[in-house]
């Protein structure tokens, strides 16, 4: 089950309401959110495909901004589904990632000596000593 061309066009219009072009950044549709990046998102979360299709089919010929405003006010589930998928697809585009200075998640080693033990952040707490309420005796 996939998203057809009409549904993709509707998705792009709705996504542009949430993510318009501004500040030298592309809009959602300019970043191809309704193309390969939408496919990537739905491949990771296939259970959202059917709810998304149903949601897009409800839009018909209505004004995108009006639809988004209405969902935001009265249909939280629809709005959150749209917003989550639009943002995820937008930020999967490497051009967008480069523009915001984000290169994704990756493993990092942990310093066994936490910086808060080195930089004095906890000194006042250590000086104060423990405070606690003893548990009741048996």
């Amino acid at each position: 089950m996939s998203i057809d061309r009409t549904q993709r066009a509707v998705f792009a219009q709705l996504a542009d309401v949430l993510i318009p072009a501004a500040n030298q950044m592309p809009s959602a549709s300019q970043s191809d959110v309704a193309g390969q990046w939408l496919d990537r998102v739905l491949a990771a979360c296939p259970e959202r495909t059917q709810p998304l299709r149903q949601m897009l089919d409800r839009v018909r010929d209505r004004e995108p901004a009006q639809v988004v405003a209405q969902w935001r006010a009265t249909d939280t589930a629809a709005f959150e589904l749209l917003a989550e998928i639009a943002a995820a697809a937008y930020f999967m585009n490497p051009v967008v990632q480069q523009a915001i200075g984000y290169s994704g998640q990756g493993p990092r080693s942990l310093d066994p000596r936490p910086d808060y033990m080195e930089d004095g952040l906890l000194e006042s707490v250590i000086r104060r000593g423990p405070i606690y309420r003893p548990t009741p005796a048996e």
Partner: protein
């Protein structure tokens, strides 16, 4: 609840189940338990369930242990009502489903000029503070909250109701400016309020709504107490002060995150008196000697902490006791 498609999270599917299965444990996934059955002696004989193909099955058991937490456990106990147990299993106290506690949760995020590298970091918390945890009558409420300091995450997280609050969304014309301010340059305090037990906050079976397997859905009745409102107001104000003192040029407060209610506690209370509790000090139902509950529903109070480690510790403690006492364990014939 939040698994990892990359398999990078230390969740039970990675940390425990492969080892357990290698030892011979049989795990049935995508099954839904309809009810527990009992015999004429009042012992649980096993669980009726619907498997992934929609086929009804029955798993016989000498001992049954529930670990479905504060909604799933009372739902199943109530759904297992019978002529002998008309109010549901283990419910002679009428406390099954009552005293639901869910940890009201608010956040304060600080925006900083400097790069905090907050797209990465430990999920959960870097450090926590119990500075204002204990009761101080002068504050106008009892008990307190844990503060957990953590990074705010990657770009999609900058758009979500958690931790920013749906009322502080950046969609539309302010989207890119919002991302610029938040991404990599924000840190948050998560405030977990100790929820007080209230018998009116409870899980019931919905008389009409059912899940796709035809099992009655839980109905959740929960009203946040005046104490919790006052508690969060005080703690959010102090957390805001701390971020401002740390150099935040702006703070974003989400006084009550709608998406929370992750910690489901209290609905099968532990205690010594069968008239005021559901299970004994070892998780065994007062009413049914071969039925145990090893999850967060047995907590008498909620604390203001993330509960999973304590639930696991309590489950281990109760399991060891069950093994030690196995020669005295009543089982169905």
């Amino acid at each position: 609840m939040w698994g990892c498609v990359e398999g990078a999270k230390g969740s039970a599917d990675k940390t425990h189940w492969p080892h357990n299965v290698s030892l011979g444990v049989h795990l049935v996934t995508r099954a839904r338990v309809q009810r527990l059955e009992t015999n004429g002696s009042g012992l649980v004989t096993g669980a009726a369930y619907i498997d992934r193909d929609g086929i009804e099955r029955f798993q016989r058991a000498d001992v049954t242990i529930l670990a479905a937490n504060g909604i799933g456990t009372p739902r199943l106990l109530l759904a297992s009502a019978s002529g002998r147990f008309p109010n549901g299993l283990a419910n002679s106290s009428d406390l099954v489903g009552r005293r639901l506690m869910m940890h009201p949760f608010g956040t304060v995020v600080g925006l900083f000029d400097e790069d905090l590298d907050s797209t990465h970091g430990v999920w959960g918390q870097h450090l926590h503070s119990l500075q204002f945890y204990e009761t101080d009558a002068a504050r106008g409420f009892v008990r307190g909250a844990k503060w957990g300091l953590q990074p705010t995450g990657g770009p999609v997280s900058m758009t979500r109701g958690y931790p920013w609050g749906a009322e502080n969304a950046i969609w539309g014309t302010g989207f890119h400016e919002g991302i610029r301010k938040r991404l990599g340059r924000s840190a948050m305090w998560g405030i977990i309020a100790e929820d007080l037990p209230d018998e009116q906050n409870r899980i019931l079976l919905d008389p009409e709504l059912k899940d796709s397997s035809g099992i009655p859905a839980p109905r959740i009745i929960y009203r946040m107490s005046e104490n919790s409102h006052r508690l969060l107001e005080f703690h959010l104000a102090r957390a805001r002060e701390s971020l401002e003192a740390a150099g935040a040029y702006e703070t974003v407060v989400a006084p009550l995150i709608r998406e929370t209610g992750w910690h489901l506690l209290g609905t099968a209370r532990m205690g010594n008196d069968p008239s005021t509790s559901v299970v004994d000090a070892w998780g065994r139902a007062h009413d049914i000697p071969n039925l145990y509950v090893f999850d967060g529903s047995i907590w008498p109070t909620s604390s203001g902490m993330n509960p999973t480690a304590t639930i696991a510790a309590m489950a281990l403690r109760c399991s060891e006791r069950l093994v030690e006492q196995r020669s005295n364990q009543k089982v169905p014939a």
